[in-house]
Symmetry: C2
Subunit: 376 residues, 2 copies
C-alpha cells in the first residue's frame, strides 16, 4: 500500500505582487509525472489547496485540471481536507459527485469520526476548524485552546476507532516544536496554536498540512508534507516535494521526495554596483530574487534598474540601514552626539556623501536659529 502525502498547495498565491500560478502549474506537472511512476493507492492533500477563500478562476481551473488528471484519468483515489486558507463551502462544492470516483473532499467536523477506508486502512479527517467552531460543534464553552480543541476531537474519534486496523489521521494544524515559515497565516491571533505530539498517539500515522517546512517536526509517526513551493523568503534553500508513505503489515516507512521547481526563491547580498553589473553570484537569473544591497541610496528607483536585468526581482532591502544600526550600539551612544552630528552622520550613511556647504548652512539655521529661537 502506497500513500502519497502532499499539502499546502496555496494555488493562486501572490508573492510581493507576483502571481505564482505559472510556477504552480509547472510543479503540478512534475507532481503528475511522478505519480505516473509512483502509481500510488491514494493521494492525501492535507489542506490549503487554495491561498484564499475566494480563489480566482485561473486557480480554480488549475486545481480542477490537476485533480482531473490524477483522479479521472489516472484513477487514483484522492482525499482532500480544507485548511485555514480554504473556503470550506467553495472547496466542498461538487463533493457528492466526486466521491463516486473516490475523490473525497472533507471540510466538515461532522465527518471526522467517519473514516474513509482504502485497502483496509482507515483514514480519519480533521479539516481545519477554529476554536469557536469546535466549541460550537461540541456545545462546550470550556474549550479555549487549540490543545483542548484537538484533544476533544480526537477523544470523539476514539469512540469509533478500530484499533485492530491501521489508522491514519489527516489534519491541518501545528504540532508543538514545529518549525514555522513566514508564509503560514497564524491559525488564531493571541493563542498558542500548537498541540502536543502525544495527543495523537492513537494513530499509526499523522499526515499534516499547515507548516511549510517538510521537516518541520522530528517525530517517528507525525509528518508535514511541506508546501508545494517556497512561499516566503524565509523558505530559501528549503526543498519542496511530497512524502511517499509505504505501509506493509504494521510497518510504515515515510520518505520525502523532492521536486524540481521552475524557479526558486533566492536572497542575493552585496553591493548595488556589483548587482547591476552582474558581478554577484546568482544561482539562477530566472529565480525570484530578494536583493539586500549596500551603497544604493544615490540611485533613483533601484528596483526598476534591477528588474531590467533580473526580471523576477521581488524584493529589495537597503542594507546600509542595517549597517547603521551596527555603528550605534544603543540609543545611549547616539544621545552623546550633538543633534548636528547625528543628522550629518545619518546623511552620510544613507547617501555616501557629505553635506554641501549650502546644506550645512540650512541645517545650522534650522537647529540654531529656528528651533532654538536664536537671532539670525
Amino acid at each position: 500500500m502506497k500513500v502519497i502525502h502532499t499539502g499546502d498547495w496555496h494555488l493562486g498565491k501572490i508573492l510581493n505582487g507576483k502571481s505564482l500560478l505559472e510556477d504552480q502549474a509547472y510543479i503540478l506537472d512534475q507532481f503528475i509525472n511522478s505519480m505516473h511512476n509512483e502509481q500510488p493507492d491514494v493521494i492525501v492533500i492535507a489542506g490549503d489547496l487554495y491561498d484564499t477563500s475566494y480563489p480566482n478562476k485561473e486557480a480554480i481551473q488549475l486545481l480542477e485540471k490537476t485533480i482531473n488528471k490524477l483522479n479521472l484519468e489516472m484513477h487514483i483515489p484522492l482525499i482532500i481536507i480544507s485548511g485555514n486558507h480554504d473556503g470550506k463551502e467553495r472547496l466542498d462544492y461538487g463533493s457528492r459527485w466526486f466521491e463516486r470516483s473516490q475523490f473525497y473532499i472533507r471540510t466538515r467536523l461532522e465527518d471526522m469520526n467517519k473514516p474513509i477506508s482504502i485497502n483496509g486502512i482507515d483514514f480519519y479527517t480533521m479539516p481545519f476548524a477554529t476554536i469557536n467552531e469546535i466549541q460550537d460543534y461540541f456545545s462546550d464553552d470550556s474549550i479555549t485552546t487549540h490543545q483542548q480543541a484537538v484533544s476533544k476531537c480526537l477523544k470523539y474519534i476514539q469512540q469509533s476507532i478500530n484499533n485492530e486496523n491501521i489508522n491514519i489521521l489527516i489534519g491541518h494544524l501545528t504540532v508543538q516544536g514545529g518549525i514555522r515559515s513566514e508564509s503560514e497565516r497564524p491559525l488564531t491571533i493571541g493563542t498558542v496554536e500548537s498541540v502536543e505530539e502525544d495527543t495523537f498517539n492513537m494513530f499509526d500515522k499523522v499526515m499534516l498540512g499547515h507548516l511549510h517546512h517538510p521537516f518541520s517536526i522530528n517525530s517517528d509517526f507525525i509528518n508535514y508534507s511541506g508546501s508545494l513551493l517556497q512561499y516566503s523568503f524565509s523558505e530559501v534553500n528549503q526543498a519542496k516535494g511530497y512524502r511517499r508513505v509505504e505501509i506493509e503489515e504494521h510497518q510504515i516507512k515515510d520518505q520525502f521526495i523532492p521536486l524540481k521547481p521552475r524557479r526558486e526563491l533566492e536572497v542575493v547580498e552585496g553591493d548595488y554596483e556589483d548587482a547591476i553589473h552582474e558581478r554577484l553570484a546568482i544561482k539562477n537569473k530566472e529565480n525570484y530574487l530578494h536583493f539586500k544591497l549596500k551603497h544604493m541610496s544615490h540611485v533613483t528607483d533601484p528596483m526598476m534598474h534591477l528588474k531590467q536585468i533580473y526580471k523576477n526581482t521581488l524584493a529589495l532591502t537597503n542594507q546600509s540601514f542595517e549597517f547603521n544600526t551596527s555603528i550605534y550600539q544603543s540609543d545611549e551612544e547616539i544621545q552623546k552626539f550633538e543633534d548636528e552630528t547625528i543628522i550629518k552622520k545619518f546623511y552620510e550613511e544613507i547617501t555616501d556623501e557629505t553635506l554641501t556647504s549650502a546644506q550645512n548652512d540650512k541645517l545650522n539655521y534650522i537647529l540654531n536659529d529656528f528651533l532654538n529661537g536664536g537671532d539670525a
Copy 2:
C-alpha cells in the same frame, strides 16, 4: 419523453439591497416537489444560474443542494448552459465528474456541435458568448452583430446535425420581438442584441434563457422559460414557473406551469396617510413592495415609517412629482406663468401647504429686489 425547461434562476440576486436567497430556496423546493410529480426525462436550465460571476457561498450551496436532489437523489439528467450573468469557469468546475451522472454543464463554444443525446433526442447547447468571443472562435472579424454571430454558430452546427432526429437547441439570447424586463442585463451596449426567429428554423424546438417573461415571444417552436422569480418591479403580476415539453413522435407540446412563490413583487399606489394607516389594499403584507405615494413630502424618513408596518418595502416613489407633470402639459404653458406663480404652485404641489407670509416676503425679496436688482 418529457423535458422540463427552466432558466434565469439568478441565485444570489440582491434586489434594492435585499437578498432574495430565502425566496429562491423556497421556490426551488417547490420546483423539486413538482419534479417528483413530473418525473421528467431531462431538465434543461437555459443559463443565468447565478446572478453574478462571483456568487457568494450561500448561492453556491443552494445550487449544489438543488442539483444534488434532482440529479443524484432523483436521478434526473440535467443540461445546464452558462448565461451572460454566469462566470463560465466557475460554473464549469467539476463538470467532468458531473457528466458521469448525466449532469451536463456546457459553457464552451467548442462543444456546440456536439449534441447531448437523451432518449434519441439531440440537445445542442449554445452558452452565452459575446460577439468578440464568437469572432475569436471562428477567426472572423466580419462578425459584428448578434444576428451574424448566432447565424455563424448555427451554420457551424448545421454541418453535423442529423435532420432525421429531433433536434433541440438550448441558448441564452434575445429573439427579435421578445418582451424585455428591467432585470435583464443587456448582452452588449450599443448593439442590437436580437436575432431573427427564422435563424433557428433547423431546430424542432428552441429552449431559451435571458428574457425573464415566460411569454416573451409568440412562436410555435421557440420559448423562454422565464425567470425563477420576479426580479424587477417591471415583472409585477407576471407568472413565474417552468415549461413542460412533451415530445411524442414528431409532435412537440409545450406548456407553461406556474409555481407559487413565497413572496411576490407588488406596487402599491395611494396616499401616504392611507398607507401608514393600512387603508390601502395590499395583496400580501409580506410581499416585496414598491410604494408610489402622494402627500408625503412633509414626512421625515417616510421609508422608515413604511418599513415598520411593511417590512419588505423595497422602494418608495414620491408620486406628487409625477402628478405635477400632468398639471403642466408643456413647457410652454409653464412659461405663461410669472416666476412667483410657478414657485408658489410648485411648493403647494410638493408640500400640500401654501407659503407662509414670511416665506412670501422672502420670495418677493429674492425675485424682485435681489434677482431683478430693485431697491429694497
